[in-house]
């Protein structure tokens, strides 16, 4: 199929008719540049075009820690990976098949990180070859030579030269030229590509859109005329409308859909983009985002708002989550509903702000002093980010409790299509209760079985009482007597059991019994299931279980664990390495979920975890599982 007819090649004659697109089940593409050169926008647009074509996609943003890292530096690599498949794609995959790099230094960042497949195709900006600084020329030519020697297929592309013909500031136009070139390589419909570009620049004026469309067309034509290969990843367009957003946008949309009114937050990477988007849209539906003076205040503000009406939400990441602990304890003690989103990043302390880690599970379950039971759930896909906000709000208000929703830096920026939600009024909270409180009713009239009490909201006649973080009795009076203290502890704990009784046993991915069960939580679901599928295709008896509710955990897990010869967790956090000299079974610190499962189910659950700040690769997981299967018990 030739698309050349609808485009006007800039220079070369079209050679399209001689090219045949090679069919592929999937491909991993990266676009890497200095910060500010628009690689991410290019990749997001490519993802959008692929999704529009019906392909499965998963995008992974490659974000340097600084806003303006030095140009042409290995550590400054900024860009995006797009995994495009014929079927639904659930994770970023293994190594990259094809990379477009705007300079050799940022490319080296990816090569050294082991992110490129052996023999991968590299499309490299060639302008550096003619640079007036001989040091740069030397660096460039030596790198190209070394890459070729290492077996990579290096294709030099005169991006700057081609773009300069179309745009005064060529540096700012390269990304759309590259998008056109990639659309040509992957045989995407140019009409879809043009639509996507118009959408990407929708807020800008027509001149901007037109100039980007010219760059897109030129890139497409250049690819057609100059590249001797072409791929096609067959796709079928979905029969139902699909939404393409990243995890943080899905969280913000979920907040709106949940009927929550108030989001209090303090800026923190990688959570803030959810609040950015929410700030943009929330007021149109009567909500508002309050940027508080600090994380503590954001939490307290949300608690105050929840107390006075409907459940509020605060969105943060690790360091902010630590600061909120006293507030969470108060909400637990006073039984005020609250939704807390923790978009996890590398820790401890300031850690790795832009990198993924699943390091906050235990602090979420056990955080805040004393016995402070909270609900902890983890999202595992972009769609899940949306619906979990609705569920979290409902749980918080039904049980007058704190619900922690754990996302992470990888879901925050990853894009994956999911069916467009059909709004239901049932997602929303009921109006704030302002009816008189029945005579004799107490603010903590705990149900003896479930521990749930109906809370009184300011404005309700007859319900006046003072809530407190101090130990209190059913009348909310400060009570230091042993019986009252234990009654409060028991009731707050019972609510967890009451919720637990409503949770469904999670489904096993694969056969219900076998040699090895892998248990995971959060963003690793796609990775784990892909690894399991690969091994199952080889006939190995491996299955997996993914937990959405970490605290409380649903019933039925024990029985599942018992049906497998071995059980291990795969997690994105730290666990001691068995090969370290001092590590033995008496001191080994297990990964968070493994520790929880061992404690609760008395099953010898092993774990493999890594905290490299990168999404875990399915290929690595498959190897770990293979080794575990071969391990003698």
């Amino acid at each position: 199929m030739s698309n050349a007819a609808v485009l006007e090649p800039t220079r070369q004659e079209s050679a399209a008719s001689t090219k045949i697109a090679v069919n592929l089940p999937e491909h991993i593409v990266e676009v890497i540049s200095d910060s500010g050169e628009g690689a991410q926008r290019c990749g997001q647009s490519l993802g959008g075009i692929a999704a529009r074509s019906g392909n499965g996609i998963w995008t992974v943003e490659i974000i340097p820690a600084e806003i303006q890292p030095p140009a042409r530096s290995v550590a400054g690599a900024s860009g995006i990976r797009i995994r495009i498949g014929s079927q639904r794609v659930t994770n970023g995959g293994d190594e990259t098949d094809l990379v477009v790099a705007f300079n050799e230094q940022v490319l080296l960042g990816r090569v050294r990180a082991g992110e490129l497949k052996p023999g991968a195709t590299i499309l490299l900006e060639s302008t550096w070859r003619e640079h007036r600084d001989p040091v740069i020329v030397k660096s460039y030519t030596e790198t190209v030579d070394a890459l070729v020697k290492s077996g990579y297929r290096v294709i030099e592309v005169p991006l700057e030269r081609e773009c300069r013909a179309l745009m005064a500031d060529a540096r700012r136009g390269k990304n759309m030229f590259v998008l056109g070139m990639l659309c040509n390589i992957y045989s995407f419909d140019p009409a879809l590509a043009r639509e996507q570009v118009a959408l990407t620049f929708g807020k800008k004026d027509q001149k901007v859109i037109d100039s980007n469309l010219r760059l897109l067309d030129a890139g497409f034509a250049w690819g057609e005329a100059n590249l001797d290969f072409k791929y096609c990843i067959p796709a079928q367009r979905a029969a139902v409308p699909q939404i393409v957003v990243n995890g943080n946008t899905a969280i913000a949309l979920g907040v709106v859909a949940s009927g929550m009114d108030i989001c209090a937050m303090y800026p923190i990477t990688p959570a803030t983009s959810a609040s950015h988007y929410l700030s943009d849209i929330f007021e149109r539906v009567g909500g508002l985002v309050h940027q508080a003076e600090d994380e503590i205040a954001a939490c307290a503000f949300a608690i105050g708002a929840s107390y006075a009406g409907r459940c509020a939400v605060t969105i943060t990441s690790g360091p902010g989550y630590s600061l909120k602990q006293e507030g969470l304890g108060l909400a637990v003690m006073a039984e005020i509903p609250l939704v807390v989103v923790n978009v996890q990043r590398g820790g401890p302390s300031t850690g790795q702000p832009t990198k993924v880690e699943q390091g906050d599970l235990l602090t979420s379950i056990f955080g805040s002093h004393g016995d402070a039971p909270k609900v902890v759930m983890a999202v595992s896909s972009i769609e899940d980010c949306f619906y979990s906000m609705i569920t979290a709000r409902k749980i918080a208000e039904t049980f007058n409790t704190v619900v922690i929703v754990l996302s992470d830096a990888s879901l925050a920026t990853a894009q994956q299509p999911f069916p467009r939600p059909n709004f239901s009024d049932e997602w929303l909270a009921p109006p704030v209760d302002q009816t008189p409180v029945p005579e004799g009713a107490k603010p903590y009239d705990w149900d003896a079985v479930t521990g749930i009490a109906r809370r009184f909201i300011p404005g309700q006649p007859g319900g006046m009482h003072t809530i407190t973080g101090l130990a209190h009795d059913r009348a909310s009076k400060v009570a230091y007597d042993p019986a009252s203290n234990e009654e409060g502890l028991r009731m707050r704990s019972l609510k967890m059991a009451a919720l637990q009784k409503t949770l469904k046993t999670p489904p096993v991915h694969g056969e219900p019994e076998g040699d090895l069960l892998v248990v995971g939580w959060g963003s690793t679901q796609g990775v784990i299931e892909e690894a399991v599928d690969r091994l199952r295709a080889e006939g190995l008896k491996v299955s997996s279980l993914h937990l959405r509710y970490l605290h409380p955990m649903p019933s039925g897990i024990r029985e599942i664990l018992q049906r497998f010869g071995k059980v291990m967790t795969i997690e994105g956090n730290w666990s001691d390495r068995k090969e370290d000299e001092l590590i033995d079974e008496d001191n080994r610190r297990y990964a968070a979920l493994a520790m929880m499962l061992r404690a609760r189910f008395l099953v010898d659950v092993d774990c493999w975890s890594e905290a490299r700040g990168q999404p875990i690769k399915p290929g690595n997981v498959a190897e770990v599982l293979r080794a575990k299967l071969n391990e003698r018990q």
Partner: protein
């Protein structure tokens, strides 16, 4: 149906619906006898009665400390929060429910030390809150430690040889922050003025900051003796837009100064005086916008609006199927 109600009936109802002091009296205060908190409680309960505040539409929010027990002694809604966080808790309440009367009770440790960051920003937000800083210049509940407002040289359990730092002045701090709109000072031992000040604070729409210098008979029994014995050591601020003390009071407190509460420069000058203690309205600017109004809090919210807003956003991110496919589905 005849909706008319005889005038006599109306008067009876009016009488019935008026609240009495008892309607605001919660638990029996557990403060020490002679504690200044008692005087503040009496003044506030009187204010509630005089303003006939609906107890169910009134919320007292506090932090931690002796002062922060305050909500327990009111028969309204109350939120006894955590140390230093009374301001953000109260802001959340007010933002969610601008229709409620929201008071904040905080102490010198709660407000000026652990909660100082929130205090600064609360002034700037200028939400419609009536804030009472119970300033006894010592940590009472934890048993006599120096607080930020303790005078230099004060001996306490953490400053056994006398505190070495100059005291923080809550009035000058508040008046130094952008958007300050109401700043007043009272003392627990002049109940008449205490009431007048709290009443003016309540009627101000915005962040009304009232610092009340109060005695702690347990830990600092003699701290304010010189002021109690010598009325000349108290400077009454008077103005037709501020306080107008009664003639009786004027005969005792002769040290008076006419001060226009709109004059912030003079307010700052007066605020920096600690002896004599200025009592009255230092600053009052009714025209500073409230954050909750700037943010349009409390507006109507309907499922229809949420649906429409959400659908419009989803439209931006939707990939529509081919019509043929959709029909087949």
């Amino acid at each position: 149906m005849d909706m008319r109600i005889p005038v006599s009936q109306c008067l009876i109802r009016l009488h019935e619906e008026k609240h009495d002091l008892e309607d605001y009296q919660g638990g029996v205060p557990r403060w020490c006898s002679g504690c200044g908190d008692n005087a503040i409680l009496a003044a506030v309960q009187r204010l509630c009665r005089d303003e006939d505040l609906a107890p169910e539409r009134t919320v007292f929010v506090s932090g931690i400390g002796c002062s922060s027990r305050f909500p327990h002694y009111m028969k309204t809604y109350g939120f006894h929060g955590i140390h230093g966080r009374a301001f953000p808790l109260a802001e959340g309440v007010k933002m969610a429910r601008p229709d409620l009367n929201v008071f904040v009770n905080t102490g010198d440790g709660d407000c000026c030390s652990i909660g100082a960051a929130h205090w600064i920003h609360a002034i700037r937000y200028n939400m419609n809150l009536t804030v009472i800083l119970h300033d006894n210049q010592v940590y009472g509940l934890t048993k006599k430690q120096a607080s930020p407002t303790s005078p230099i040289g004060m001996k306490s359990n953490t400053t056994p040889r006398g505190s070495v730092l100059e005291a923080l002045n809550p009035l000058t701090v508040t008046l130094g922050v952008q958007n300050a709109s109401f700043v007043a000072q009272g003392v627990d031992w002049i109940p008449e003025l205490l009431y007048d000040i709290i009443s003016k604070a309540f009627k101000h729409k915005g962040f009304s900051f009232v610092r009340i210098i109060q005695r702690c008979p347990e830990w600092l029994p003699k701290m304010f003796e010189p002021w109690l014995h010598d009325p000349g050591k108290t400077l009454l601020l008077t103005h037709d837009k501020g306080l107008q003390p009664s003639a009786d009071l004027g005969r005792i407190y002769k040290n008076q100064r006419e001060h226009d509460p709109l004059n912030i420069h003079q307010a700052r000058e007066i605020a920096s005086t600690t002896d004599p203690i200025p009592v009255g309205i230092l600053y009052h600017n009714p025209d500073v916008p409230c954050y909750e109004e700037l943010r349009h809090a409390g507006g109507p919210r309907t499922p229809e609006a949420i649906r429409a807003g959400l659908e419009a956003e989803l439209d931006k991110f939707t990939i529509w199927p081919d019509e043929k496919l959709a029909q087949a589905a």
